[in-house]
Every structure is written in structure tokens, then in C-alpha cells.
Symmetry: D2
């Protein structure tokens, strides 16, 4: 199994950045597996992802921060370290539509998603058998207009208890409160069943059908306080025609949703996403 | 060269429709080349396109209407007849961006578009050499805030003089007046450089760039009084990434615009488009 | 639930075909839901699929053949009738890779595939828990070089016992004998993990990787005696880059295989496929 | 206008590579605009493209090699330097089909291709007016079975005279001799009208049509001695159906060919392509 470290850096662009980071890693005998960087010329921003093998690395990874601090300070870096040995903990929220859940659980079992799934939270019982088949604890918490704050409180307790790192809304049909989204900044991934920013909000397939579009889409994005407005992680589309009735759109859309959500989850799990200016950089 | 007739029909769906049309054509010895139909179950609508070879057809095509009238009346049909021998006359409107014009003129010359192009109208001189290379008369009419009505009047005179059947806005950067669009219902085709209904209106690439979408699109549509709201004829998208700057979006988008507009023009020329409920049916 | 009949016709193209079929259906008060036809001008072939609602149809569907025979004979038609009330029986063959099986079983359960699955046959035990979750009988028959004929005999007995109509090879890693394929002409659907005819045969992802292609594909096709040569039902591709290692190709390919196979199965189940000249016509 | 240098490096992968290159550039005050690298773990290969602004760079670029030599030697690098100020000279070869030529000339004129086109060579007169419109010298050299060696000799003389850096075969229908391809290793770009390695050789659209594929493709590649076997630069596909006759394939294919060839040319011009193991790495 891979035993690697991933460093994500963003900072104002300036000369000597790459040399400093590369020298630091080389001086500690790092064997770089992948490195990718991006400069936004307009915003003067530098973004980097570098992954190296920890075998042979001569620094105790627990002390990385202390040793890297001088470089980080010099260049005003925001940085984050991830270790392949520390699998992030993902909670899945789901309502009744189960296609995304089925897909995520199968991918997880088959090794495509290097994370743990300590629990699934739902406002319905429907998906429990599936969760049980995959051996994932399933918590059903009813959400109504009246008990929303209370229900979210119960959800938080569960998330805290299981040390959840990030949340995937796999067609979860409740809008999260601003308090909820604020608790998990850039750590809630949603799938919206349209090509955003077209058809924001409710019933996008119905509206796509009425508008007579020739392609339908799906968008995975980080959830922010504003509905369907967070940074887009991935999008894809599929062609439709007049032969497709509304239910055909919904069926074709399911295949899109699954793939588009699963890519976003994988990139998040593998620390391939950096954010700036309400956009994502995907280091694939 | 093909010598065929195309009948386009739309009417309330009911039993016996196909039998009546097929019998009528068979009774006059038509050799059907293509037939396609569509039923919208929800709206109870029947739409059909049928093309037949005129060699052997025993009806003088000039009398088609008189003979077909009883069937048309019985089923409350809206219908239209097109003949491959009567090439529609297309006017192209263009401003400074010439990529769509270049593309249309080349396709026309190479035989992809079975129409005539009696003239090109522009509000700039830039594209004149290109028009001259292809031997198409080029009319430059300046349009300003103050002379808009007057300029449109001059355009109408030219369009009337040349018996223009339909207009293609090949990145023409002036908004047509409501009077103009009313004169050419379902006969003006525009290319919008976004995946409508996302990024309606001005500067769609800029806004796509700012929003951080992962695909950009282009949409060809019939022009109605409401900006970018007419029936969509064709759409397509292309993948972009954080590596693409705004100018890369614009460049990639040009390739989309050309293809998406040319498909719409071809389908219009070949009488493959039927409209209902602000949507198009494309009989390809 | 829909109660409809589907008529599939292929015959030499000639005048009066559509009129005859439409008249016949109209004379028995058929309410046509969908009709699609195709003429191959080069081969002089006519192909048609027509679906009608059986409520109101004044012919006992069991007697359809007797009544339709004169028309069929007159035009030398090959024809087939399918009823939505008679769900075809599909057997799935699988080895160890389970992604296509997972996908088919989920689609079946969620109502996308209007067929019954009386059994799954495998040469390995691996997929049994999945079959049990979905409540489908699972038969494990070991296949070796020495017992192949015997094993196929046992498979036939199972298929006969369950009245299986068609077989889906969902990444079944054994080559079927010529006797086997001859028993199920145009009734065995395979998924090949390349864009056929590129990379016929074994290890297509490895060879795609070595060749340095920029897209990988998957192909569903009917199985004939010649390996990977049968009529293609559906194909799709996905973009790859130098950043993708062989295992990334395999992972990306899985998503393709699932979608491409499931489309083929659905079209087969819905009697949307006609064959001629080793090609398929898909009436979608 | 951009005044930048591009360094392309390939060598055995080893520790300290990035640090050495980054240090070297930083020590000479380079302002890095883009950097991208790729490691092939299996082959133990390191590939890099780095582009920097020459304003502020304190080394005379003419002396780059002398200064960079110690690093290059230490790591056994193969390297190449390109300057944005030195536009490569591209010769276009064309026969009668002109769609790729039209496309390349328009892109060149509109600034998409940062190269010069000193001449077009053809074995037919057909494209001369187009060349004249764009002001590019056009040389017509008839090629027959008998005069092939002689004709290639005349072509070489022209290429040498104009200092041509690379050749684009824009649907040039003559097979080049082994001597010819050997003279321009990795400097001849061809467009093949199929999804290679499917349908190698002649008449790929005809064979795709006969095989009944559901997508057709185009492939741009470097020309080697073996026909259609060189490193693939770019590929793309478009969906077709039974409704498409052979001539529709050819027409749809033209749009693919143009885009796929133009991307390859642009990447070559911008020094974005590195080769290894008969594959390309595209640093886009």
C-alpha cells in the first residue's frame, strides 16, 4: 500500500517558490511521485500539489510543520498536509433516491475511494438494507419543518462522535441551514442535477425539459450558504432529443449524477482540490 | 441531383393519421425516401416529416395543396411543403468576429448547405475581403444608437429585394428590434456563446470563467422578441480546466460556435426542424 | 403499467409498405404510441418498429399473425411481435469482475430494465452475496479446459429449465463455444472493453495503454462465432491522458462498460434493435 | 507580445531533479509562467516542460546551453529550448480535400497558431486560390508512381530553401517514402480519418460504415516509417447512427479532422509535446 504525503500550497506568486519547496523536499530525501502546479496570472496566485513517498523521507512527518514553517512564512503560504495512511472519514447523507448511494458504496468497497465511511444519515428508512449489505451503520433521523434545528443538532452529534471529516450529500433532499454549512466549510459535497448555473434550485429536469435543451447536465460542488452557488468541482452532460420524455431525462441524468459525484468525492479524498475565488483547481 | 419533396406536418394526435398520409402518398405513387414522426404524449401532439422522390410521383407538385387539403382539414393539420429544387435564400449578418462566417461560407461552397446566399449584411467593413473571395455581395450598414430604426429599414429593403427566406446571425453583435424579429418568425437563427439558459445576455465566456464551470457551451436558437429565449435548435459543450485562461475559453468556444451554428443552419435548410411549445423537434 | 405491442419488420424496400402497415393497424383501431422506420437506400432495405397501445385494439393479439400474414407475405417481410406484458427472461453470466453485474442488478431493481432475471451463472463464487442481496438464484459452474463441453451442457440445462430468452455476458471471462453461440443467435450480448474494432481480443486496456491512445472505449455487441466480431449495439469513449496509469484506464473503463452494456440490454429488452448486414439499427 | 523561453526535459527519474532545475532558473532570476512535469513510474522516466518570462532573466539566452550543461549532464537529460520569439516554420502538404487547409490557414491568420507558413506544397492545383487569398506561396508538384523519388527531391529542395521546421499533412494523399520520414523525425504531423488503431490504412470511413460502429474518429499523429503507427498526438470521436449514410460519416468526419489536426499543430508549435516509448505527453 502506498505510504505517501501530499502537500497542498497556495500563496501569492513570486520567484523562488518552486525552488524553495523542491529544495526543502530534496534536502530531506523525498522521492517525489507527482507534482503539479498552477499559476493564475491575473490574480497573481500560485497553487501547488506535491506528493512524495515517505519511505526514505528523513523527517518525522509529525514534525513537518515545524520544519516547513520558515518557508511557509517567507512566502505567506496557506498549506495543508495529507497522509495516505490517514484515510478521511466520510459521512453520506441520503433521502429516498438511492442511485448515488449505491454507486458510492460500491466504489468504496471496490477500492476506488480511499476513505472510511463511519455512517450514513438519512431522513428515510428506504436505504437501510443497502447500508446493511455494505456493513455501514445507518442512522434515520426524520426532518420536518418544525424539528429542523433539533434534527441538525442530532446529526452534528453523530458526525462529531464519529470524527467525520467531510460530508457527501448523495441526493439528500433537505436544504442544510447556514449554521450547518458554516460548520463544514469546503467539506460538504453536493450533487445538483443540472448543468449549473442553469436550472438552480428545485426540479431542474422538469425545467430543462420545458426549456427544450439538447443536453442535460449534473454538477458536483462544495456547499456554501447560498443554494447551488458553491465552487464547482465537476460537471458533465449527456445528449437528449425530442424522443426523450421527462422520465428519460431523469433516467439519463441518474447516470450523470453518479459519475459526476463520484469523481468529486475521489478528488476530495485524494486531496486533489484547491479552492480560490469560488473556483476549484483539480490536480488530476 | 436529388429531386424530392418534404412534407412537414403537426396536428393533434389521433388514430389514422399515419395511414391517411401514407395512403395519400402511395396513391400518387410516391417513393418515400425518409419518414420520421414524433408523438408528444403529454401534449397530445403529432409531428411528422416525410420526404419522397418526385420522379414517378403522379401529382403535379404545384397542385399538392389542393389534393392534400381534405386530409389536412380532417386532422386539423398545420403543414408545409418544401422542394429540394427550391433552394432557400439565406442572408448572413455578421459584425467583426468572422469565425462563423468563414465556416458557413466554406460549408456552403463545399456543398454542405443546400441554400443560396444572395447577400451578407454587416455593420463593419472587416469581413468584406472574405465575402469577395467567395463571391457573395457584401453590404455594410453602420448601426448606431441613433440610426437603429433607419438601419433596420435599410436592411429590410435589402432582404426584400433579394427575396431572403431566412437570416443567420453569425456573431452579429446588434440586438434586433421587436419589429425586426416579428417580421421573420422562426426564420432568424442566432448563435449564443453559452450553454443556454446559463449565461444569458452579454459576455457569457467572462461569466463562465468567473463562475468556474468545467464545461463551456454554445447554443443555436431561433430568435424571438425575448433575448436568448427562443427555441433551442442545437447545443454542444467542451471541457475546460483551471489551465484555461479566459482567452482559451474564447478560442475553444469558437470551435463550438461554428459547429453548433452550422448544424442548425443545415437542419433549417433541409426542413428538418419543427417547432412546438417553444421547443424544436429535429428530424435528423 | 403500459400494455402495448411492438412490431418489428424488415423487408425489401418498396412502395406502399408504410401505407399497408398503417392501414392494417388503423383498421383494428390501434393507438400508435411510437413509430420509427429506416430505409437503407444502398441495400434497398426497409426496417420498421411500431408500438401501439393494446387497449382499444380490436384484434386478439394471439391471432395477430394470422391476420397480418397476407401483408407480410405480399412484401416478403421478416417480422416479430413483442408484448410489453411478456417480460423477456435474461440470464447473466459473470466471472469475478462484478461492476457490470452490480450495475445491471441495480437498474433491474429500480425498474430501468423491463425483464426478469431467473438466474445468474458464474464460474466463480465471488458474486454470490450480491446475487443473494437482490434475490436472484446464483449457479456456480466451474469451467476448465477439460470440462468445457460438459460445463456448457450444464449451463444449457439451466437456461432451458428457466426458459431464458437471452444472455448477457457481464464480463464473463470464458469464450463460448461455437455450438453455444449458434444456440442463441442474436440473443447473447457481450461487453468488450475497447472501442471495437480496435484492440480485439485479450487485454485491450493494456494494449490501449501501450499504443498511447487519447481515448479509451467500450463496445456492447451481439456474440457470433467469431470473437468480438458480432453486430455492434453501442459504443462510448472517455478521454485519458498521460497522467492516467494503466489502473486508471481500467477504472475509467469500468464506468464506460457499465453504461454501454446497460444501454444495449435495455434496447434489447425493449425490442429496439434490428439487425442487417452485421449491423444494428437502434430505434430509440 | 510574450517573450518567453520553454525548456523541455526528459531523463531517468531521480531525486533532486526538480530542485536542480528550479534552483538554476531561480538563480538567474527567471519568472516562471508555467511548469508541468510527469513521471512514468513504470519506466522510471521524468519529463518536464517549464516556461519562463525572459524579461528579468539575467542569462543571455544564447548562452543557456553552456550554463545548463552541468545539470543536464549530471542527470543524463535530453533537453530542448524553444523561444517564443522564434516562430517555427511550418510547411503544409495538401492534395484535393481542402477542409483541413482552410481551417489551418484561418487559424493561422486569426492568431491561434504562433508559427510562420512559408509555403504550401500540393500535387494538385485545386487549393491555389485559397493559398493566394491568404498570401501563402503555393507550389504544385505532380507526383506519380514513376516520379516519386524525383518529386520528393523537389519537395526537399523547397523545404530546405525555406528553412522549414516541420510539416503538416493536411489530407495529403501520397504516402511519403521512408527516406522522407527519416529526414523529419517527429516533425511530420498527419491527420488520419479514423480512431487509430482501428481502420489503419485506406478508406477508413468506408470500413467504419461497413463495420457498423456507433462512433467515428480522427487521429493526429507523428509520421514514422510504418503507416499510421506513429505516436498519437490527439484523437476525438463523434456519434453516428444508422441514419447516417457513408457521405454523412465523411461530412461529420471532416469537422473532427479539422479540430483534431489543429490541436496537434498548436501543441507542436507551442512546444507542448514530449515523446517517449512511441507515446506523447501533452503539457497543456
Amino acid at each position: 500500500m502506498k505510504n505517501s504525503a501530499i502537500l497542498l500550497v497556495s500563496c501569492p506568486d513570486q520567484k523562488g517558490l518552486v525552488a524553495s519547496i523542491a529544495d526543502f523536499l530534496y534536502s530531506h530525501n523525498a522521492n517525489i511521485l507527482h507534482a503539479d502546479q498552477h499559476q493564475d496570472a491575473e490574480l497573481g496566485l500560485f497553487l501547488m500539489r506535491v506528493e512524495w513517498d515517505l519511505s526514505g523521507f528523513d523527517l518525522d512527518i509529525a514534525d513537518f510543520g515545524a520544519h516547513f514553517a520558515p518557508i511557509a512564512e517567507k512566502f505567506s503560504m496557506q498549506w495543508r498536509l495529507a497522509l495516505s495512511s490517514q484515510r478521511p472519514k466520510m459521512a453520506i447523507f441520503v433521502s429516498k433516491y438511492d442511485h448515488c448511494l449505491v454507486d458510492l458504496l460500491y466504489r468504496h468497497k471496490s477500492g476506488e475511494l480511499a476513505c472510511d465511511i463511519p455512517l450514513i444519515i438519512s431522513n428515510h428508512e428506504d436505504c437501510r438494507p443497502l447500508a446493511e449489505f455494505y456493513g455501514i451503520p445507518y442512522h434515520c433521523l426524520e426532518v420536518t419543518k418544525d424539528n429542523k434545528a433539533e434534527a441538525e443538532g442530532a446529526q452534528w452529534a453523530l458526525l462529531d462522535e464519529h470524527g467525520v471529516d467531510f460530508i457527501v450529500l448523495a441526493r439528500y433532499m433537505q436544504v442544510l441551514s447556514a449554521e450547518f454549512t458554516a460548520r463544514y466549510p469546503q467539506r460538504i459535497i453536493n450533487i445538483h442535477h443540472s448543468f449549473l448555473p442553469a436550472f438552480l434550485g428545485a426540479k431542474p429536469y422538469h425545467r430543462a425539459f420545458e426549456r427544450g435543451v439538447k443536453l442535460i447536465g449534473a454538477t458536483s460542488h462544495y456547499v456554501t450558504e447560498i443554494l447551488d452557488d458553491g465552487p464547482i468541482i465537476e460537471q458533465d452532460v449527456i445528449r437528449i432529443s425530442h424522443r426523450d420524455a421527462l422520465e428519460d431525462l431523469i433516467q439519463k441524468g441518474r447516470d450523470l449524477e453518479k459519475v459526476v459525484l463520484s469523481r468529486a468525492v475521489r478528488w476530495h479524498v485524494e486531496s486533489r482540490i484547491l479552492l480560490y475565488a469560488n473556483k476549484t483547481v483539480i490536480f488530476d
